[in-house]
C-alpha cells in the first residue's frame, strides 16, 4: 500500500541513543509520534491476527485489529485464511460485530450489502436502485490485507505489499519460537475464549516488559510468586547461564535451568508433564532448547505480541491511542496434552496472568504510571535509562540473534527500539538491515536445521 506519510523527513533517531542506552520519554505519550507509529509500524509490519486453532472449519471467523484498523479473519473453504477490513465499502459501517463465530456471509446492517466469507460483494438490499455501471461488484468487496502468512499455527497479516516475507521477518527468531510452537508433536492451540482488558498506558511498555524485563519480575512480582508457591521467593537468576537474544526487534530472555517459569505457574502437574516430555523435546529441538524451555523467560514478537513459554500466557497489546492499549490474553497449550493438563495450564495462567492473576495485578499500574508521569512537560524532556548490561554482548555458537549474557539486561529492549527506529525511518522496508545477519536461511522448517544443537 502507499502511505502518503512515508517518505517525510524522518527524524526519529533523536528520540534515542541505543549505543549510549537512553530513550526520550516523548515516544510514550506524544500524539504525533503515535500517529506515525500507526502508519509506519502497524500499517507495515507483519501483525499477529489469529492462531490457526481458532479457525478450524470453513466459515469460522474472528474479528481483531491491526493497529487501530478493524479486520475480520476467516477460514476459507479451501483451508486458506483471508484477512480484510471490517468496514463496508459503501459508507464504512462495521460489517461484523461478533468477536468470533461461524458464518456464510457478512451482511452490513446499514443498507444490506452482503459479502461472502472471502470478502467479495455478493449483492445488496433493493439492488434495482443501482443503474448499469453504477457499481462494479468486483471492486467493492471488503478491502483485503496485502499478505497473509502463518508460522507453525500463528497467523500473521500485513498491509504492506512489499517488504520482507514472513519467514524473513521472523528470521532466526524462528529458532526460539519453535520452543513455544513446536516442543511436542502436533504443535499448539489456543484455549477457547479471549479475555480483554484496558490499560491506560502506552503499548510499548507492555511489549518491552515481556521482551526483556526479567529484572522487574523478582521485585514487582514477589507477592505473586510467593502466593503461588507457598511463600517461596523467586528462583535465583544465574547471570552466567542466562541470556537475552534479539532478532529483528523480536526478543526472548531466558535462563537455562528449565524449570523457573513452570515453577511460577504454581501447578505441579504441569511441571511433571513437561519433565516427562523433556527427553522427547530434546530429540526434537536439541538439548539446549529443551533446557531453555520452562526456564524463567519471557518473549515478544515485534511489534505487539508477547508470551511466557512455560507459563503459557499468550497476549497482544493493541494500541488505542498514545496512552491506552487493549490487552488481549489467551492461553496456549500443546495439542497433544491430555485434557486435565490443559485444564491445569488454563487455571494456572488465569491465576497468574489473567486480569485477576497474582502477577498481572501488579504490572498494569506500573505501566500506567510510567505513561502518565512521563507526559509532564518538564518530565518528558528527561531521558530514560536503558543501559543495563550494555557491555555484555557475546557471540554464542548455538544461540542465534544478538545475544547478551545475563538475564537482567536491557539488551532486548534496546533491540526492540532499534527496530522501532528502523521502521519509523524506513522508506523502503526491503532496505531495512537484518538485525543481525541471519544464520537460518529462509527455510520455514527450522526444527531440524543442522549445526545449531551443540550445547
Amino acid at each position: 500500500m502507499r502511505l502518503e506519510r512515508i517518505g517525510r523527513e524522518p527524524e526519529f533517531s533523536r528520540y534515542m541513543d541505543l549505543k549510549e542506552g537512553w530513550l526520550d520519554r516523548r515516544i510514550f505519550s506524544d500524539a504525533e509520534i503515535y500517529e506515525e507509529e500507526l502508519y509506519r509500524i502497524f500499517a507495515r509490519s507483519w501483525l499477529f491476527v489469529a492462531h490457526e486453532s481458532q479457525l478450524p472449519k470453513a466459515g469460522d471467523f474472528l474479528t481483531t485489529h491491526m493497529g487501530e484498523d478493524a479486520v475480520i479473519v476467516t477460514r476459507q473453504p479451501d483451508g486458506s485464511i483471508k484477512v480484510y477490513l471490517n468496514s463496508c465499502p459503501h459508507r464504512g459501517n462495521k460489517v461484523c460485530f461478533a468477536d468470533a463465530g461461524n458464518t456464510r456471509r457478512f451482511v452490513c446492517n446499514y443498507h444490506g450489502w452482503a459479502f461472502n466469507t472471502a470478502g467479495e460483494l455478493q449483492g445488496m438490499h433493493e439492488e434495482y436502485c443501482y443503474d448499469e455501471g453504477d457499481i462494479d461488484r468486483k471492486k467493492n468487496g471488503l478491502r483485503q490485507v496485502a499478505r497473509v502468512g502463518s508460522y507453525k499455527g500463528l497467523v500473521f497479516a500485513t498491509f504492506a505489499q512489499d517488504g520482507p516475507s514472513l519467514d524473513a521477518w521472523l528470521g532466526d527468531f524462528r529458532w526460539y519460537l519453535d520452543m513455544l510452537l513446536d516442543n511436542e508433536e502436533g504443535g499448539t492451540e489456543l484455549v477457547g475464549g479471549c479475555i480483554k482488558s484496558v490499560i491506560s498506558a502506552n503499548w510499548k511498555f507492555g511489549v518491552e516488559n515481556f521482551i526483556g524485563d526479567a529484572y522487574h519480575a523478582g521485585w514487582t512480582h514477589d507477592s505473586g510468586c510467593r502466593s503461588m508457591n507457598d511463600g517461596q521467593p523467586f528462583p535465583p537468576i544465574d547471570m552466567e547461564n542466562s541470556y537475552h537474544a534479539s532478532v529483528n526487534g523480536h526478543g526472548w530472555e531466558f535462563g537455562t535451568e528449565g524449570v523457573g517459569d513452570l515453577f511460577l505457574l504454581g501447578r505441579p502437574k504441569v511441571m511433571e508433564y513437561y519433565e516427562k516430555i523433556r527427553p522427547k523435546m530434546a530429540d526434537r529441538l536439541g538439548t539446549m532448547r529443551s533446557q531453555i524451555f520452562g526456564s524463567v523467560a519471557s518473549a515478544s514478537i515485534f511489534p505487539n505480541v508477547s508470551f511466557l513459554p512455560g507459563i503459557s500466557t499468550f497476549r497482544q497489546w493493541q494500541p488505542k491511542g498514545p496512552m491506552q492499549f487493549e490487552l488481549k490474553t489467551w492461553v496456549i497449550v500443546n495439542k497433544a496434552m491430555p485434557d486435565d493438563i490443559k485444564d491445569e495450564v488454563t487455571k494456572g495462567v488465569m491465576q497468574t496472568f489473567g486480569p485477576g492473576g497474582t502477577f498481572e495485578m501488579d504490572d498494569g499500574e506500573n505501566w500506567e504510571n510510567c505513561t502518565t508521569v512521563n507526559r509532564g512537560v518538564v518530565t518528558r524532556h528527561e531521558r530514560l535509562h536503558y543501559r543495563c548490561g550494555i557491555g555484555r554482548q557475546i557471540d554464542h555458537d548455538t544461540l542465534p540473534g544478538i545475544v547478551y549474557r545475563g538475564q537482567y539486561n536491557d539488551a532486548n529492549q534496546r533491540g526492540f527500539y532499534q527496530r522501532w527506529l528502523d521502521m519509523m525511518e524506513a522508506t523502503d522496508l526491503g532496505a531495512m538491515p537484518p538485525r543481525p545477519e541471519p544464520r537460518l536461511t529462509g527455510v520455514a522448517e527450522t526444527r531440524d536445521l543442522p549445526g545449531l544443537f551443540a550445547l
Binding site: 460485530f97 461478533a98 468477536d99 468470533a100 463465530g101 461461524n102 458464518t103 484455549v191 477457547g192 475464549g193 479471549c194 479475555i195 480483554k196 482488558s197 484496558v198 490499560i199 491506560s200 514487582t220 514477589d222 507477592s223 505473586g224 510467593r226 502466593s227 503461588m228 511463600g231 504454581g266 487493549e326 490474553t329 489467551w330 492461553v331 485434557d339 490443559k342 485444564d343 488454563t346 487455571k347 488465569m350 491465576q351 489473567g354 486480569p355 485477576g356 497474582t358 498481572e360 495485578m361 501488579d362 498494569g364 499500574e365 506500573n366 500506567e368
Partner: protein, 183 residues
C-alpha cells in the same frame, strides 16, 4: 462436588420463606461488607470447602451462535477457582509486597435484586443477585463492574456458606486494568 446442587434453572424453584430470604440477603450484605473492608479471613469463613467460584470470560457472539460460553469450564475464565485456589490468590495480600495494593484500593459492593429459591436439597438455596462494584484508588483511578450472580448457599449450623457462585460480568472488554476484587 458433583453431588452439590447445580446452578442451572431449578426443578423445584419455589421461593424460600421470608425468614430464609431475609437471612440470606443479610448474608450477602455481610459478605459484601467483608470484601469492602478487605476482611478476607471473614470472607473465607463464609466459603464452603467444596466451593466453586466461577466467572467466565464471555465473547460477543451472534444470537445464532450456540457456543456454551458459560458452563463450559474448559474455556477461559477470570475465575474458575476452588477454595484452595482462592486462598492462594489471597496469600498475595499477606506477603506485604503486593505493591499495587498499597495504598489500598477503596471498594464498595452494592448488592441488589436478591431472590432466594429452594433447591432439591433441604439445606441448599439458590440465590440470584446483581452487583455494582465500584473501585477507586490513588488519585482518580476508578471503575465500575456490573453484573449478575447465581449462587448456591448451604445452611450449616445456623449460618450459610457459599458453595457455588457463577458471576456474569456485563463487560466484553473489561474496562479496567485488573481485577483485584472478588464479586
Amino acid at each position: 462436588m458433583n453431588q452439590t446442587t447445580t446452578l442451572e434453572r431449578p426443578r423445584t424453584g419455589a421461593t424460600a420463606s421470608l425468614e430464609v430470604t431475609h437471612a440470606l440477603t443479610q448474608t450477602l450484605y455481610r459478605e459484601a461488607r467483608c470484601l469492602d473492608d478487605e476482611d478476607y479471613a471473614g470472607w473465607v469463613a463464609m466459603l464452603a470447602d467444596d466451593l466453586h467460584y466461577h466467572m467466565p470470560g464471555i465473547e460477543t457472539r451472534y444470537r445464532r451462535d450456540k457456543t456454551d460460553q458459560v458452563t463450559d469450564l474448559t474455556r477461559m475464565a477470570y475465575y474458575n477457582d476452588s477454595l484452595d485456589e482462592i486462598k492462594k490468590r489471597l496469600l498475595r495480600l499477606e506477603t506485604g509486597t503486593a505493591w499495587s495494593e498499597d495504598p489500598a484500593t477503596r471498594y464498595t459492593h452494592i448488592i441488589t435484586n436478591v431472590e432466594v429459591e429452594h433447591t432439591d436439597k433441604a439445606d441448599e438455596f439458590r440465590v440470584f443477585s446483581n452487583f455494582y462494584a465500584y473501585r477507586n484508588r490513588n488519585e482518580r483511578d476508578e471503575d465500575s463492574l456490573i453484573g449478575s450472580r447465581i449462587d448456591i448457599w448451604r445452611e450449616t449450623g445456623g449460618a450459610y456458606q457459599l458453595v457455588r457462585r457463577r458471576i456474569i460480568l456485563k463487560h466484553n472488554v473489561m474496562l479496567s486494568k485488573n481485577l483485584n476484587i472478588y464479586l
